[in-house]
Subunit: 277 residues, 2 copies
Amino acid sequence: MTDLQTMPMGDHRVPDGVSLPPAPPPPLEDVEPVQRRTPAEEARTLVAQNRVGALASLSEDGVPWSSLVAYVTLDDGSPVLCVSTLAEHGRNLQRDQRASLMVSHRVQGPDPLAKGRVTLAGHVERPEGELLETARAAYIDKVPSSSLYALFDDFSFWVLRVERVRWVGGYGVMDSVDAASYAAAEPDPVGDAGGAVSHLNADHADALLSMARAFTGYTDAESARCTGADRYGLDLMVATPRGTAPTRVGFLEPVQDMDGLRQATIELTRRAEAVLA
Amino acid sequence: MTDLQTMPMGDHRVPDGVSLPPAPPPPLEDVEPVQRRTPAEEARTLVAQNRVGALASLSEDGVPWSSLVAYVTLDDGSPVLCVSTLAEHGRNLQRDQRASLMVSHRVQGPDPLAKGRVTLAGHVERPEGELLETARAAYIDKVPSSSLYALFDDFSFWVLRVERVRWVGGYGVMDSVDAASYAAAEPDPVGDAGGAVSHLNADHADALLSMARAFTGYTDAESARCTGADRYGLDLMVATPRGTAPTRVGFLEPVQDMDGLRQATIELTRRAEAVLA
């Protein structure tokens, strides 16, 4: 099953004669919805997990200019950039402070648009005084190669003051986030759980199946694969005799780090086995 | 040695009191310059090797908008996009056709700006008739997940007519390319030679050292590591008693595919051993 088969049709205009793939089977029993990251948390997490993004600035001829930048973030999630006026984007920011930064998951494979990305739009400003020192120290700490060029006179630090945020989680999963919600949200401390997900699928298929049967309403699940992990729970894809479906199991409380994720998964397995016993 | 230590200072303004890292040692003997890909070939190759990029379009409020897009290319390297008017970038292109697309190498590790990226800037236009059929077929072939949504009425195909190109190969390596040169250049058929490079370093360190000693003028090389491979030759980093330095060896003639790369490397090794014998 591809993500597309679970794509919500929403407002898309589907022409006559185009047949959509069948919807995934529903759970056999009703269950409580499971907490997930808010769009603001998704945005902050994506930005925290990455170090490069695509800057859009305005070129002198009015064409919006897309360029690669490294960034770090202030505590409120504002990106800090360090660019040279020898580069077009550096001259663009000097001339016009309107800009946006797009950060995306690194996607491999045949479906490049199935994963998350976020656009932060607003105005850049030159930090001064203490803020400049904070911005510079954070940048050089996280982008060590900048320790040389950040001192050149043609390089400047810029802080992107985020005014609006658009998060896209994949097909049909998207939302807008206002500046205050973005600034207040916490990046997920679980971060990139790819290793944990691979481990669960490789070594704990039975535990995943128990969780699916006990907690998701898919009591006829024959197998379950973990497709994602975050501070609030695990995303699962369950296979049933009626077809495959995406679902989710929640932790008792949000986890604070990778070790917490491991403990919460063990606890979830124990509870699932008790329910099924 | 990091790429930064070989960063050409060019036009950068280095303040007093900032000490630059030492320049790499020169070769001990003069050698002919080795052919490398032109900036236009670099741009076409980067675009051909990737399937996602960052689009910059103009939002209604005038802010340049950075977003993730999948793309394919026409024979002249013009990117083809397929976007929905339910998404901000789709509405932007409908309102204002000025746009650019940035494509970058996927970079891991501590130095996110050491590798190549390219910005293609121009205007998008809606393909019609035969061009629309060509664009649609190419897109659905290379982005299979689009076979469903590309038919929705809210999605449109756009061709980016490239008017100017800026290629950045890494620190201090960059050039502008005009539209005609971009359209006429051929993507490197060697493409992503990462596997070949790893293989050379893992299993053929002696051959690399022979090439370095025989052909690069670094007759005092003690070891050599391959850092890149393309249709015209191999990039090497040589270690000498005087320090490490980037250099390059060229094939007798451009190779046409990965098998040609293997043959040319074997031939280069044979010639190097003959020179050193």
